[in-house]
């Protein structure tokens, strides 16, 4: 049914070599083969944002990229976020503002937030709302997420 392809990539700082079916998407590869279950699958067609990851510094949808396309790339998942710096500040701010409920959208939401902050995004509520509109959250009212991102940008976080 499916051709296999050899790939080698870096995932959260570790070298990974694998032989993957050509049809396997990146998020399924990470979840099923590497047991990195922090990236979630919500829609499998690039809309909900639950599988958002960082690949070579870009914010991408793990469900819209094939594992084969990650050959030679540097992938960062929620499990590989640094324990200090902006990702840690965002995690602290999300906790402080209760910017999550069920947590299913959270890893993808954080990836998008990190992308926004790292790109020099400003603490403008409308701009932040626009930026995270590719990440659906069904539990919060989004307000606490916007507050948390604003907080980090304004360096007021805990």
């Amino acid at each position: 049914m499916s051709r296999s392809i050899d790939i080698s990539l870096r995932v959260n700082g570790e070298d990974v070599r694998a032989t993957v079916p050509s049809r396997l998407n990146l998020v399924d590869f990470l979840r099923e083969e590497l047991s990195l279950t922090g990236s979630h699958v919500g829609c499998e067609h690039g809309v909900c944002g639950a599988c958002t990851l960082t690949v070579d510094g870009d914010t991408v949808r793990g469900c819209l990229m094939l594992a084969a396309q990650a050959d030679g790339k540097d992938v960062i998942t929620i499990e590989g976020l640094a324990e200090n710096g902006q990702s840690a500040q965002l995690q602290a701010a999300f906790t402080k503002h209760n910017a999550l409920q069920c947590g299913f959208c959270t890893p993808g939401m954080l990836a998008s937030a990190i992308g926004y902050v790292n790109a020099g995004g400003i603490a403008d509520r409308e701009a932040i709302r626009q930026h995270i509109s590719g990440n659906y959250c069904r539990c919060t009212g989004y307000q606490s997420i916007v507050n948390a991102i604003c907080d980090v940008i304004e360096e007021k976080s805990v």
């Binding site: 049914m1 499916s2 079916p21 049809r23 396997l24 979840r31 047991s35 990195l36 279950t37 922090g38 990236s39 979630h40 699958v41 919500g42 829609c43 499998e44 067609h45 809309v47 909900c48 639950a50 998942t77 929620i78 499990e79 976020l81 995690q91 999300f94 906790t95 402080k96 503002h97 209760n98 910017a99 999550l100 409920q101 069920c102 947590g103 299913f104 959208c105 959270t106 890893p107 954080l110 509520r125 409308e126 932040i128 709302r129 626009q130 995270i132 509109s133 990440n135 659906y136 959250c137 069904r138 539990c139 919060t140 009212g141 989004y142 307000q143 606490s144 997420i145 916007v146």
Partner: protein
């Protein structure tokens, strides 16, 4: 019953404090454990062949090629599984006259909605199972479909269950006073509207799924369940898979959103459990997004013709309405699909003094996905009918809608009392809530601003809702009708040898912060620091028996059980301390993890006490046998439900060229009794409001005339996104319920129940200068432009 004041006032209390959730860090580090994260040895994967038709006879099924396909372990048809699973029927005895037919996990002979599972394929991977599904050939003979609820009862409509004679599932009439005479009274103005509430669905970001593991050596079924009611599911698996109840363990770890979606019996999940039993190995099924859209329960789908009569002076004389609701081809098991209509009949107009009331509800079968209880069951319909008509009547008699509410809202000092429909009401604060709301939003200034804007061709509107919410249900909700659904919940509190508390509860966590508030209650009432409490929920093997978290009952019922258990353990520990310290218990307290004097001076750290009890019992008198563990159960008595109230307002701007509605701001004043954690409850209410806005403006399951779901993708079905949502201001009034010491009522559904009415009223306020109005949800740009055209 009133509680000792010190529970809420003592220095190390946690109840009422905005403590961040302890489990947030875990979820923020990607260390959550959702069903699809489960990977068990020898686990295999299920995929389903589903009916492509809304209504079709299954002539034959050919699975030969699928069975031979790579990785395939087993293929099951409806008949194959019917030999191992008894059918289920979604009726309850307290909903007199409700009819449905037996349902099987996989369709038998006839498929009755697009998406109904027909054949199950189990293979070594999901991808291979899906490949094999492509090789299954089902010969369908398409039948005429009854899709439209309005024609479902016509004589010529296709009858979905010939045994029932027609497509009527249930009907109920409710009459109080004499509505005809009231409307005919001279000087009474009657407004009349037809409301249409589209179908929408929950779209939990984590789709439904299950991992079922069967161990034949112990005849034990373990189910990893993404849902809200583990003990209910234990009974259902037992009853229909012929397994002893005690041999079924249902575990809910992290649940990626539920909102009432994951609290029902789904054929694909039951089939997964049956396959696990037959194959004697773990089987995983995770719905993909298409499967979620076509099989997760849908909600609403009501057409309501309604009238309200108001005197010139603004007194509501009564409401008269007819509600028609379509529920798909079966009543959902075990909660039934008649509860929503019943709620609409019970709750419409409940905030207002009203003597005359007439309501008719009809629930009909149709060839669409099943409809059942989704967040705020019936409330958005009931609130939109009453408050939509109220603001329509206000326009008609030229009165401000707030002034009209002031005249008709039940007075805050008039409780206990009943609504026109006989609902028992107590501890409500409608008038205070409305006043707090108008102050919070600066209504007068906002109204002036709106008038100014209109001069510049900017059409803004302000809309309100005064609402009630059913919370903390008693056994009268389900148990009385024969459903295996507990109305009580239990809590256990145990002091370990190190002086920490281990607590467990039968209520469940789906992100609202259940575990956090249980810890706050236990820590504060017993007297340890919050970080010394470990919480276990969501496991039938290790928690007390209870109903779970739904119908805004977790905090009010499970929280009270936790309070009682923590108090009981405290009494027990103080008795031991009194003996060890040779002093009267009345001179002792527990604070910050130590037994103290009443002034807070430490007398004995809890770890010392616990170690003495556990390790050196010889130091205690022989007749002192402390257990250091306490369990208490709690149920609501005297009231069928504990109602809450709220007042909400929306400020919107309608672009009359494009029909787009922009929600500028939203305010909610909620009285959920004692607030346990404002940080958590505020964002939960906001999330509820956003789901309500979704139903009011965006979300709809579109069907073709022949029953094809036309927009079953996340790209085509619109859920609210961050960029289109407003900031939402939340405020509280705290009128604790007298039914418990804790005094907490529910809050989880308020936003979803109230927001649609407020948005509807705001849009109609914005459209009013053009003489236009809209009574259909979602209020899409197309429908708003049509409404404007009709006014022209």
């Amino acid at each position: 019953m009133t509680g000792p004041a010190h529970i809420f006032d003592k220095p190390n209390r946690y109840i009422g404090k905005p403590e961040p959730r302890a489990d947030a860090a875990r979820l923020l580090q990607g260390r959550g454990s959702y069903v699809d994260d489960q990977k068990l040895p020898r686990m295999v994967h299920a995929a389903f062949v589903r009916s492509p038709h809304a209504h079709a006879k299954i002539l034959s099924i050919d699975t030969e090629d699928a069975r031979a396909a790579k990785g395939v372990i087993a293929v099951y048809s409806g008949e194959d599984l019917a030999a191992h699973v008894t059918p289920y029927v979604g009726t309850l005895t307290h909903l007199a006259g409700l009819r449905s037919m037996p349902q099987h996990p996989l369709a038998m002979e006839v498929a009755r909605w697009q998406g109904e599972p027909v054949v199950m394929v189990v293979a070594t991977s999901r991808a291979l199972a899906e490949d094999a599904c492509e090789l299954v050939y089902v010969d369908f003979d398409e039948l005429p479909a009854a899709v439209d609820s309005e024609t479902a009862l016509d004589l010529e409509a296709p009858v979905i269950h010939p045994e029932l004679g027609n497509n009527l599932a249930w009907e109920r009439d409710m009459v109080a006073g004499d509505i005809d005479a009231a409307f005919a009274t001279p000087g009474v103005h009657v407004v009349e509207r037809e409301f249409r509430f589209g179908r929408h669905t929950g779209v939990t970001l984590e789709s439904r799924g299950t991992v079922c593991d069967y161990d034949p050596s112990e005849n034990q079924l373990t189910v990893y369940y993404s849902g809200q009611a583990p003990h209910m599911m234990q009974v259902i698996f037992s009853k229909h898979l012929d397994l002893p109840e005690e041999n079924i363990r249902v575990i809910s770890n992290d649940v990626g959103g539920s909102f009432g979606i994951k609290i029902h019996t789904y054929g694909d999940e039951i089939a997964t459990a049956a396959a696990a039993k037959l194959l004697k190995r773990p089987v995983k099924f995770i719905a993909d997004r298409f499967e979620s859209f076509v099989t997760d329960i849908h909600a609403r789908d009501h057409i309501v013709k309604a009238k309200m009569g108001v005197t010139e002076a603004g007194t509501i004389v009564g409401i008269d309405f007819d509600d028609l609701t379509g529920i798909g081809p079966f009543s959902m098991y075990p909660r039934t699909s008649a509860i929503e209509c019943n709620q609409v009949l019970n709750l419409t107009g409940a905030p207002y003094v009203m003597e005359n009331y007439r309501a008719k509800g009809r629930v009909v079968f149709q060839n669409k996905t099943l409809m059942c209880q989704y967040r705020a069951v019936g409330h958005p319909i009931a609130m939109a009918i009453a408050d939509g008509l109220l603001e329509d009547a206000a326009r008609k008699i030229g009165m401000d809608p707030v002034a009209l509410r002031e005249i008709n809202l039940m007075a805050d000092d008039s409780y206990p009392r009943s609504s026109a429909t006989g609902m028992k009401l107590d501890d409500l604060s409608h008038k205070r809530a409305l006043r707090k709301l108008t102050e919070l939003m600066d209504y007068d200034a906002l109204r002036d601003e709106r008038t100014e804007a209109r001069k510049n061709g900017i059409y803004r509107g302000i809309g309100f809702v005064s609402m009630v919410e059913v919370t903390n249900p008693s056994p009268m909700f389900y148990g009385i009708g024969g459903a295996p659904i507990a109305s009580q919940d239990g809590a256990t509190v145990r002091l370990d040898a190190g002086g920490a508390l281990h607590v467990s509860s039968s209520i469940t966590e789906q992100g609202q912060g259940t575990n956090a508030i249980l810890a706050q209650i236990a820590a504060g009432v017993f007297g340890v620091d919050l970080n010394r409490v470990k919480v276990t929920t969501g496991d039938t093997a290790t928690t007390p028996y209870g109903g779970g978290t739904w119908a805004s009952r977790g905090a009010g019922i499970g929280g009270e059980a936790m309070l009682q258990a923590a108090q009981a353990l405290k009494d027990q520990v103080l008795e031991v301390a009194g003996v060890m310290l040779q002093t009267g218990v009345e001179t002792l307290d527990i604070q910050g993890g130590a037994v103290t004097d009443l002034n807070g001076t430490i007398r004995l750290p809890l770890a010392d006490l616990a170690r003495t009890v556990y390790y050196r019992g010889n130091e205690l008198p022989n007749d002192l046998n402390p257990e250091l563990v306490a369990t208490r159960h709690y149920r609501v008595t005297d009231f069928p439900f504990v109602f809450t109230n709220g007042a909400m307002a929306a400020h919107v701007e309608v672009d009359i060229e494009t029909g787009f509605v922009k929600v500028l701001h939203f305010w909610a004043v909620e009285d959920c009794g004692r607030v346990i954690n404002p940080l958590l409850v505020d964002e939960q209410i906001r999330g509820g409001v956003v789901q309500g806005i979704g139903g009011a403006l965006y979300e709809e399951c579109h069907y073709s005339p022949d029953g094809q779901f036309l927009n079953a993708t996340m790209a085509d079905y619109m859920v609210p996104m961050a960029s289109e949502m407003p900031d939402i201001t939340i405020a509280h009034i705290e009128t604790p319920t007298k039914t418990s010491v804790l005094g907490a009522k529910g809050a989880g559904e308020a936003g979803t129940g109230g927001a649609p009415a407020a948005i509807l009223n705001a849009v109609n306020d914005a459209l009013s200068p053009m003489g236009a109005s809209i009574w259909q949800m979602p209020m899409t740009p197309e429908r708003i432009l049509t409404a404007l055209d009709q006014a022209d």
